[in-house]
């Protein structure tokens, strides 16, 4: 089976060429519609590492909190898609209800629900108020219970488990050949997480597990994501009480000379999101994004082989493919 894509091709990478460094962020955060903040993070981390700008610790904490929030919202969107494919009407609406709370939190912090133009080179745009942290504490208190409810619908209901079990199994060799990353790889039993392996922000300060599946079928892919939601809740609740006072942004010197092939990567909800930048005279010369969904699409076409026709929609939903990111 060959996927036919390209219907949403926007050509962002071409448009950006020749635009000043500071103005790039609102263009590239439209690439990933489910968690826009991770795309901003990659871009800023790449340039910070090159110019050796030290980001203040408070800004780092706030970045971690916001990226984990967007990870939760993206995984809940995945669950709505799965519920729609299964034909279960109730969890679909409950997922949308819980997602709305987290989107409201992101809006309070950044000013927009889906496209927060928030992360800057050397820090963040504006400080978060005490009101936001109070709201976060209030919502996180009840959120564990709500995640447990979703777990009951998807992982404890026998009919759903029977349907998802052994459906769309991905072989390990295929997965390594196609360079898959993220939850889809972790469902195979490989504990590969950039947050652990290459702790890019202050992720080494937090205690969290990397959930792992056994076989790599749709049930494992669903289970890994639900457990990741719980892990990111625990990360946020640890970060809440550690946030120090201080500056939010350092204005480092940005050289305007030519530089090539700055690379950085980040763990976005779909997998590894990498970015390769080369800059000349304060303007972007070339920028290329390596999205995880592109690889996941081909992994889906491998996993479908041998399955029945009526299950295709379900398997596609279980891979969580972001179409904007495939086409760019």
């Amino acid at each position: 089976m060959n996927p036919d894509f390209g219907y949403l091709r926007t050509g962002v990478e071409k448009i950006i060429e020749g635009i000043e460094i500071d103005n790039v962020i609102p263009f590239i955060n439209r690439v990933d519609n489910s968690s826009a903040i991770s795309v901003e993070l990659v871009y800023c981390i790449a340039l910070e590492n090159y110019f050796k700008i030290e980001v203040p610790i408070r800004a780092k904490f706030i970045r971690v909190i916001l990226s984990e929030l967007s990870r939760i919202s993206s995984h809940i969107l995945f669950l709505t898609k799965l519920a729609n494919a299964l034909g279960m009407n109730m969890p679909l609406h409950y997922c949308l209800r819980e997602r709305e709370e987290i989107l409201h939190l992101i809006e309070v912090a950044t000013g927009s629900r889906l496209t927060p133009n928030f992360v800057r080179i050397g820090g963040i745009k504006s400080d978060l108020s005490k009101q936001f942290f109070d709201k976060l504490k209030e919502i996180l208190k009840g959120f564990r219970k709500k995640v447990h409810e979703l777990r009951v619908f998807f992982l404890e209901n026998e009919l759903v488990v029977n349907k998802l079990n052994n459906l769309g199994v991905l072989v390990k060799e295929d997965a390594i050949k196609l360079a898959i990353s993220g939850p889809n790889l972790r469902a195979l039993g490989v504990s590969q997480d950039i947050r652990k392996n290459d702790n890019y922000e202050i992720y080494d300060e937090f205690n969290f597990k990397v959930p792992i599946g056994d076989r790599g079928d749709s049930l494992d892919r669903c289970m890994v994501r639900i457990e990741e939601i719980e892990q990111s809740i625990s990360i946020i609740s640890q970060a809440l009480y550690k946030v120090p006072e201080g500056k939010i942004r350092t204005y480092g010197e940005v050289n305007t000379q030519l530089m090539e092939n700055i690379y950085s990567h980040v763990e976005c909800p779909h997998g590894e999101l990498g970015m390769n930048i080369s800059v000349s005279e304060g303007r972007i010369a070339k920028l290329s994004i390596k999205g995880p969904s592109y690889n996941n699409l081909f992994a889906f076409s491998k996993a479908v082989i041998g399955e029945k026709l009526e299950d295709i929609e379900l398997i596609l939903a279980s891979f969580d493919i972001c179409v904007c990111e495939v086409d760019k």
């Binding site: 034909g87 009407n89 409950y94 009919l159 029945k308």
Partner: protein
């Protein structure tokens, strides 16, 4: 005079039928909305009572288009067949001891077969269907599901028939004056409910087109009026199957004499409906031809045969109970 009386009665029945359909559609939408922590229809009329009326009116205002070209009438004939058979099936069902239209000896099997025909009827109308393979498979899939799930429906309804030893619905209800059938044949009750729900395509929860492999269906290419009429006929089928369920297993209009017997039937049908709604929203939809055959033949038919054996045994050895 007899004919005139019968016509008047039929008119009353139809009025009751449409009111019932209307109330059932409204309750479906409202209860589903509250289960999903929404408000449901709210703006038009008191708590959105008139919203469904305006939807139906909207399609009816389009009716002159049906008769503009007489060649197209042959395409619409399937919808007409499904509608008329749905109404015919309803007219056979008695509501109480006094309120009924006709008293036929073979009313139960006739009613069930009419419902089956009305479910199949919509397939005759293939207006504008360019015969893709996708659409053909979807169509064949629907026909096969109706055929498959009507088999356990028929077999499971034989349980109450054996107890009362007649096919007449009145006799079946009268036999339950002491014990309701659900007490000693719960298996056939479950089979009946499941096969009913699979017949009418989980209507309030799912759009019927979602049941098939692809997003193409015979319904997705029909115009507004045809679609509305076929959905209304499906809702009529829902009502008649629900009332049949109450008559067969829940004792029909039997009950304490505090309330009018008609109210008892209405309450029981509503309880059945709510149970089904709860089940729909949690159980994932069944897709795929092989799974459906396995479910109906290996599970539902076997259960209903088992039930039949138990009932025959009971009737032979403990006859004085009944």
């Amino acid at each position: 005079m007899i004919l005139k009386n019968l016509l008047l009665k039929a008119l009353y029945f139809l009025l009751f039928l449409f009111l019932g359909v209307y109330i059932i559609i409204y309750l479906h939408k409202k209860t589903l909305a509250h289960m999903q922590s929404r408000r449901g229809p709210l703006q038009t009329g008191f708590h959105g009572i008139l919203q469904i009326f305006s939807q139906i009116l909207k399609s009816l205002l389009n009716w002159p288009k049906l008769f503009t070209s007489w060649q197209d009438l042959s395409n619409n004939i399937g919808v007409v067949i499904s509608f008329t058979f749905a109404i015919l099936a309803f007219l056979l069902i008695p509501l109480t001891e006094d309120i009924f239209l006709m008293n036929i000896e073979m009313s139960l099997p006739l009613c069930l077969s009419f419902i089956m025909i009305s479910n199949m009827g919509a397939f005759l109308s293939i207006k504008k269907v360019k015969l893709n393979m996708n659409k053909m498979t979807a169509l064949l899939d629907r026909i096969s599901t109706v055929l498959i799930f009507s088999i356990p429906l028929f077999i499971s309804s034989m349980g109450p028939v054996i107890v009362s030893s007649s096919f007449n619905l009145f006799e079946i209800v009268r036999a339950q004056s002491r014990f309701y059938n659900i007490l000693y044949q719960p298996l056939s009750f479950i089979v009946f409910l499941l096969s009913c729900s699979l017949l009418w395509q989980r209507l309030p929860v799912d759009v019927p087109k979602k049941d098939t492999y692809f997003n193409t269906d015979y319904l997705s290419t029909q115009n507004r009026l045809n679609y509305q009429i076929s959905t209304i006929s499906k809702y009529i089928n829902i009502i008649s199957l629900l009332i049949l369920g109450t008559l067969l297993y829940l004792g029909g209009w039997n009950g304490p004499k505090i309330l009018h017997p008609l109210i008892w039937t209405i309450i029981k049908t509503f309880v059945l409906q709510v149970i089904l709604l709860f089940l729909y929203t949690i159980i994932p939809r069944i897709s795929g031809f092989r799974k459906k055959i396995n479910l109906s033949l290996a599970f539902l038919c076997l259960l209903s045969f088992l039930n039949l054996l138990i009932i025959i045994f009971l009737v032979l050895y403990f006859k004085p109970i009944f």
